[in-house]
């Protein structure tokens, strides 16, 4: 399912990545971070997808919440391992969501 977020404004962190050949430990860390982020104050949800390129977009109440997650000690370790091992290339973008809309075929709903 896709993330549902409160009405804008809120923030999105857009993380796009290409993996390296060193994936040892990645799956475990990925699951750990997934659990952990859901307990962060100001976390609103995330969408994630992976084919050749991986994209994870996490949604946040404000910049303060993003900064706190960035400083989380376990997340810092994960990010360092990401740079040292798991990713050959990545981009991060911090963006303020101004408008959003949803479509659901089941409900016919569009907002």
């Amino acid at each position: 399912m896709l993330a549902t977020t409160p009405s804008p404004p809120y923030y999105a962190v857009i993380f796009a990545s290409i993996k390296s050949d060193e994936q040892s430990g990645y799956e475990k860390m990925s699951e750990d971070m997934f659990q952990l982020v859901h307990h962060q104050e100001g976390f609103l949800g995330l969408d994630t997808s992976r084919s050749d390129v991986g994209i994870t977009v996490s949604y946040w109440k404000d910049e303060k919440a993003i900064a706190a997650w960035r400083e989380h000690v376990e997340h810092k370790i994960a990010r360092q391992l990401g740079r040292d091992q798991w990713y050959s290339y990545f981009t991060v973008r911090i963006a303020k969501v101004e408008r959003d809309y949803y479509f659901s075929k089941v409900s016919g709903e569009e907002r």
Copy 2:
């Protein structure tokens, strides 16, 4: 490869989707739209990924460029077919990118 964009501010359109069982014509339209969007004024690039969830993030110079693409007649047809056939659920978020950074293991570059 991932999109490289000019320095912020610029805009991101975050499109997350879950497909329906009706995929007839999707691949052709997807390729057509991919070609077409690259010729739009103010288009800066895109990142795309698909597993259970598909995420495409396109980057734009400003809101005017996003509005022009939204009004493009072929894109309008594609979006209508998306709602009628290809997607069971999707979300669209328009966000202003305030900060970004890149990491490349090959070059050791980080900006």
